[in-house]
């Protein structure tokens, strides 16, 4: 479809300029929509007077305040959107109005995010496009444009360290470094169009969307009622919200890096349970490490230990289960899993020892064989000499 707007505006400097290349990558342009769809006017006319006339419905520059309703004029209409993408939701504007952004927008705040701040304007791409500002790998960066700007966020009185903290987290590592698109980003926990920070009571519900077993165990743990009574934000209490680091066994117990010490004192019931769990976990981790080291040594010596190594994977699974069981906050739950793992490590360690003993046996056998062969060779040599002398 002819879009005469680009004929001029592709040659104009910023802010009026829009390159044809940029606009060609816009999802709206690819679906056949012209500039007039948002700005009004007559995109088929080459005469600027006619193209940008009031009669043709020319709106001109769309103010920030007008953006949500402008976008909603299409994106909220199910019958219209079906023609372009039947799978696309049409409740974004409804959701937006429930969000912190939307509620402040409704009160006339021109600084809060509107559709174009996240999705882009003329370079608007579908979220599945890795170059889109709302592609999962780019969402955190997009949010940080405002939420990491201390000066910009001053009037709102909220922290601006979320992005910096997120960058240190395992979730960021999974998403951005390893490319796991199922890893959480800002919108996973806060919502996208209806973006609102989860309330204290809702944190566990949010985390449990992925961390199902941990959440189930927590629900039956002694911590559930205590946290609720103390108005503690569930999982965030121990794991933080944005700077969620990779958990270690040192987090449990009464050691210097343990989170339990934030509430528990040495000697109290909780501390005893925590120390017991820590001991169980480290005991299994050490046993796994020892048996893997022994099996590795045996393998380097040329011994066949593949079956034992396969079995050792079961011990690692048991340790993983035990680390999940921690969320029941009862050492008996953890002990059940660590005991299963220790049973496996005893077998794999024994297999490693057997392999090393076999290795020593082979060396001794080789030595004896070489001696026997050497004696035979000397005997043969002497016999030949004797034979030929006679």
């Amino acid at each position: 479809m002819k879009d005469s707007c680009l004929d001029c505006h592709s040659n104009l400097p910023e802010p009026l300029g829009v390159s044809a290349e940029t606009y060609s990558q816009n999802i709206h342009a690819q679906k056949g929509l012209t500039c007039a769809a948002c700005h009004g006017g007559d995109a088929s006319s080459d005469d600027p007077e006619k193209a940008m006339s009031g009669a043709a419905g020319w709106k001109g520059k769309v103010e920030r305040k007008q953006v949500p309703e402008l976008c909603a004029s299409c994106h909220s209409k199910a019958e219209l959107m079906k023609k372009y993408n039947p799978g696309l939701r049409v409740d974004q504007f409804q959701q937006y109005k429930t969000s912190v952004h939307g509620m402040k927008w409704a009160k006339g705040d021109g600084k809060v995010a509107v559709c174009t701040d996240c999705h882009g304007v003329h370079d608007l791409r579908p979220p599945s496009d890795p170059r889109s500002k709302v592609h999962p790998t780019n969402i955190a960066t997009t949010c940080s444009h405002c939420h990491a700007d201390a000066e910009y966020m001053k009037p709102y009185g909220i922290k601006t360290d979320q992005f910096a903290n997120y960058e240190q987290s395992v979730h960021h590592d999974a998403m951005v470094v390893r490319g796991d698109l199922s890893a959480p980003t800002c919108t996973t926990c806060h919502g996208n169009h209806g973006a609102t920070p989860p309330g204290v009571a809702n944190v566990t519900a949010v985390c449990s969307n992925c961390h199902v077993f941990q959440a189930q165990l927590f629900e039956t743990s002694p911590h559930k009622d205590v946290f609720a009574a103390m108005v503690l934000p569930g999982c965030v209490t121990c794991h933080s919200n944005h700077a969620i680091k990779h958990p270690t066994d040192e987090m449990i117990g009464m050691g210097p890096k343990a989170v339990c010490t934030n509430c528990h004192s040495q000697g109290d019931g909780g501390a005893t349970q925590a120390e017991a769990m820590h001991t169980q976990l480290t005991e299994l981790a050490t046993a796994i490490s020892s048996s893997e080291e022994l099996l590795g040594r045996a393998e380097r010596q040329g011994m066949e230990v593949s079956q034992a190594k396969l079995q050792a994977a079961q011990a690692r699974d048991a340790l993983l289960k035990a680390r999940v069981s921690v969320h029941a906050f009862r050492d008996s739950e953890v002990k059940r899993d660590t005991d299963a793992g220790l049973a496996v490590t005893r077998q794999t360690y024994a297999a490693g020892q057997k392999a090393m003993e076999e290795w020593k046996f082979r060396r001794v056998g080789l030595g004896l064989s070489v001696v026997a062969i050497a004696i035979t060779l000397v005997g043969l040599g002497l016999y030949i000499r004797n034979l030929e002398q006679n």
């Binding site: 040329g302 066949e304 079956q307 080789l366 060779l377």
Partner: protein
Amino acid sequence: MSSMTNSVRHWLEERFPLDDIKTLMEKKKVPVHRYSYWYFLGGMTLFLFGVQVLTGALLLLYYRPGADEAFESVQFIMTQVHFGWLIRSVHSWSANLLIFMAFAHLFSVLFLRSYRKPRELTWLSGILLLFLMLGFGFSGYLLPWNTLSYFATKVGTEIPAQIPIIGRPTLLFLRGGEDITGSTLTRMFGFHVAILPAIATLLIGLHLALIQWFGMSVPPALEAEWRAFPPEKREVRFFPNFVLRELMAWYVALGMLGALAALFPWGLGVKADPFASAPAGIKPEWYFLFMFQTLKLIPAKVVGMDGEMLGILAFGLVGAVALLLPFLDREKPFNTRRWISGLACVFLGYMAVMTIYGWVAK
């Protein structure tokens, strides 16, 4: 003890002409000269083949030739069977040493000109035996059914497919179908334990009979020397003098095999997964490396013809020349002997360089 030995000997002498056999064995002589040590290579090759037969028979007691069972049966042999690790490792190391020794024996016979009249058929049977040993190596390599052997066989069977006309039928014959499957495994197993051993038995029997019939060859220059100065000719009895010396060499080889098996046991690898992609840098065993590396380096097109096909045909030509060598060796009207030695040296150097290159190349 000695009375029992005498009783047994007497029992056998009543039924078999042991004295005649002893006289025949003592009558056979082995020339002694500065190149005599090369005579041991043939016996060494035979010894290693014997080790292969013995260890192979023992492995057959536990090996199961099927895609679902082969790897596991080898794993069982290596881990559960008493001294299974030793038998399997000796079998694998001995296979490599056997092929090396076969090549060494071939080149020693070539440079000592032992192929010349009247020993042409001995040479012919020897070359065919070398091809058989390579066939043993190729067929046996797939039997553990691990990743390396699966993909090496896949690449290896694709090479003859380049030969015009017979290429595709050859590929289908070797694989038992389009792809490497359990059918290929059972086929290779059949080749390895039945067909090739049967042919090898006949050829080895013929080869040894011809050696016994014609006796040991002496290099032409030495033969001329001895004709001129008969007193300089030295010989030892084959039995027991040469046999005892050969026994010493066999014991050394046995010790080496044991040491290799104990110090560097043959690995099991990872079970073959036909759906996985080929490991990067997959290459065949060392004895095929020089051919493989050559084919990799030949340009795709050479004077308008397919490069790989030309390479295969070139190696085919080398094989044909090797077979017909005794008939190409002549002094009149044109002395080809120096050419033969020179080309053999060049080819030996080429094999060595390309094998090393293929080994270190990624």
